[in-house]
């Protein structure tokens, strides 16, 4: 066992930074899940599939635009919209007819969506591994704390907080964002004052899925894009949302930080069981506060 062998201060710092940058991806994905959960009160099991589609769409768009820096940036900007389009179609065609039904049915619908989207991805992109290279400006490493640190992870550390601020402004300062938050608290009242709640839900669902697509497009250069990445992310996002407080965006941020950092520290201290550390952190948080750290919106 190489337990604790590689623990030095600089290694610790780098692992922390890697964990934080991983947390940014987790935050972007889980904030979308949390938003849908808050407004629609449905755990969207298909969220991970939309994340996967985001990554695959980024791959295809990147190629379509020639693969250089322009391709990368265009793919990054456009693929969340592709995902949002998929979500809008699924929502308006099928999902919106179920809002009056039991929550379990809504959950099972999203599961059906996950099964279908998973196989559609297999049909369109196949089972091969795909990869995207980041543009030159974000490739390579920078020396930090005496070790080298990948530039792309630094980029993620910048993007994450920007997205958090943007999402906060959007949900708290714009009219549609405020309506969505109001519908989360009391949908009957929102309905009563003459707002079309069905479209508010559609908006919330599409925005949440947009975040999943953004997360997928952002993560694509750091991993190999392949089938099965939906299964991994969705369970992590579920856990993060649970420990953060259902529907609470800052809870999603806090949960992501806990999850990302415990994961990377786990990799450092005990690689074989690294996967167990974040789960343990989740259990500890939930034993301490069963309804999550921050207040749930409902």
């Amino acid at each position: 066992m190489d337990f604790g062998q590689s623990v030095t201060l600089s290694a610790l710092g780098v692992h922390l930074l890697v964990g934080l940058s991983r947390a940014m991806i987790l935050f972007i994905v889980s904030s979308g899940l949390s938003f849908v959960l808050g407004v629609l009160r449905v755990p969207n099991v298909a969220h991970g599939s939309l994340y996967m589609i985001g990554a695959f769409a980024a791959f295809t768009l990147n190629h379509a635009f020639g693969g250089g820096p322009a391709g990368f940036w265009l793919a990054l900007v456009l693929s969340p919209f592709v995902v949002a389009g998929v979500a809008l179609v699924a929502e308006r065609a099928l999902f919106c007819h179920l809002y009056q039904r039991e929550h379990l049915m809504l959950l099972l619908f999203t599961f059906a969506l996950m099964l279908i989207l998973g196989d559609l991805v297999k049909m369109i992109w196949g089972a091969d591994y795909r990869s995207i290279t980041a543009p030159e400006a974000l490739e390579g490493s920078l020396p930090i704390l005496g070790s080298s640190f990948p530039k792309y992870n630094l980029f993620l550390l910048v993007v994450g907080p920007l997205v958090a601020v943007g999402l906060y402004l959007f949900t708290n300062k714009t009219r549609i964002g405020k309506i969505a938050r109001a519908a989360a608290v009391d949908r009957d009242m929102v309905d009563a004052i003459g707002i079309n709640v069905s479209w508010v839900f559609a908006f919330a669902f599409v925005l949440g899925c947009f975040m999943a697509g953004l997360g997928g497009a952002l993560v694509a250069p750091t991993i190999s894009v392949t089938l099965g990445m939906d299964h991994d992310i969705i369970i992590e996002a579920f856990l993060i949302v649970t420990i953060g407080g259902l529907g609470n965006m800052w809870g999603a941020l806090l949960g992501s930080l806990i999850f990302g950092v415990t994961q990377s520290l786990g990799v450092m201290f005990w690689p074989q069981f690294a996967i167990v550390f974040p789960y343990l952190a989740v259990v500890i948080v939930l034993v301490w506060r069963p309804t999550g750290m921050l207040k749930s919106v409902w």
């Binding site: 755990p43 599961f111 579920f238 649970t242 167990v276 069963p290 309804t291």
Partner: protein, 314 residues
């Protein structure tokens, strides 16, 4: 007046089905006997889930975790220790029930979605352990070639073993379903506040229901080991939990035998559609959507509703 739980009038169709199933290995090829055994295992798992979901109204989102605990306990005891096989068979359901007690104890304090989310987290922890603890569980490879006792190691003898255990388990479940405890549980599902108000300890009933259901999930885990001779981490994965959920929905939540029908349909479809196309999950997803839109009471629920409607007209 209510009939007793085992009056001949209600029982004879089941007895007929049971007799037909006893004769099945004579009539069918080995492959179909094996598939039927797989259906039985899955049916028991779905029945055990429905005890808490359909009759208890709990969001038991990660039932497969307990199935996996049962299967792994059985397989590990058979492979790693020299104990007689029956000890493994008996210990596994209790291990699953213990896991159910521990996880359930945390979960029952919460409501609905939080209950489900917490259970997914705790169950995924079990999955992570099975997935990563190579020295004990074989990691993602799982454990293969579990030594099954000779008496039940052939396909037809394991079929009979699984059939008998399933029949016994379902009978016990039916007794529980019809018992005062079962009725109380259904009352809690329909109106927890009122039950609380008339002095029923809601949480304790729910916890007991979880322990019983996870015990039977553990039995299903043992049967899986008997049929397949191997275990792997997918048994504890949350995707399987949701698939079993679908079986309950497909068969009918609020009927007793519905989940068995749902399991049979799902396994049969997977087996036969799976030979024609690799996009089996796509078809399952489409079926599920059709079900949600057009048949939310499930197949059995639909049939019962129809036959009852016919009776009242006549």
């Amino acid at each position: 007046m209510q009939r007793g739980p085992f009056s001949w009038k209600t029982l004879w169709p089941y007895a007929a089905v049971f007799a037909a199933l006893l004769l099945l290995p004579v009539a069918l090829s080995r492959f179909y006997v094996y598939i039927t055994a797989v259906i039985f295992v899955t049916a028991l798992l779905a029945m055990s889930l429905n005890m808490v979901v359909g009759h208890g109204g709990l969001y038991q989102f990660h039932h497969a975790a307990f199935y996996g605990v049962g299967a792994y306990t059985c397989a590990l005891l058979l492979v790693k220790t020299g104990l007689p096989a029956w000890i493994g068979f008996v210990a596994a359901p209790f291990a699953a029930a213990l896991a159910g007690l521990l996880i359930g104890w945390f979960c029952v304090r919460l409501n609905k979605l939080y209950f489900g989310m917490l259970q997914i987290s705790l169950g995924s922890l079990l999955w992570a352990i099975a997935f990563r603890w190579y020295d004990l569980t074989g990691g993602d490879d799982g454990i293969h070639g579990v030594p099954i006792p000779d008496a039940i190691s052939t396909i037809s003898s394991s079929y009979y073993f699984v059939l008998l255990v399933l029949a016994a388990s379902v009978m016990v479940m039916y007794l529980i379903y019809r018992s005062p405890f079962g009725k109380t549980l259904q009352a809690i599902r329909d109106n927890p506040e009122r039950c609380e108000a008339v002095g029923i300890h809601v949480r304790r009933h729910q916890l007991l229901a979880i322990v019983i259901a996870t015990f039977f999930a553990g039995v299903a885990g043992v049967l899986f080991v008997v049929v397949e001779g191997s275990v792997f981490p997918d048994l504890l994965f949350w995707v399987l939990s949701l698939e079993v959920f679908i079986m309950c929905l497909l068969g009918g939540w609020f009927t007793f035998a519905g989940p068995m029908v749902g399991a049979a349909i799902t396994v049969a479809l997977r087996t036969f559609v799976g030979t024609y196309t690799e996009y089996w999950t796509l078809i399952l997803g489409v079926i599920l959507i059709l079900l949600i839109f057009f048949l939310p009471e499930g197949v059995m629920g639909f049939i019962i509703e129809r036959t009852r409607g016919g009776e009242s007209e006549g």
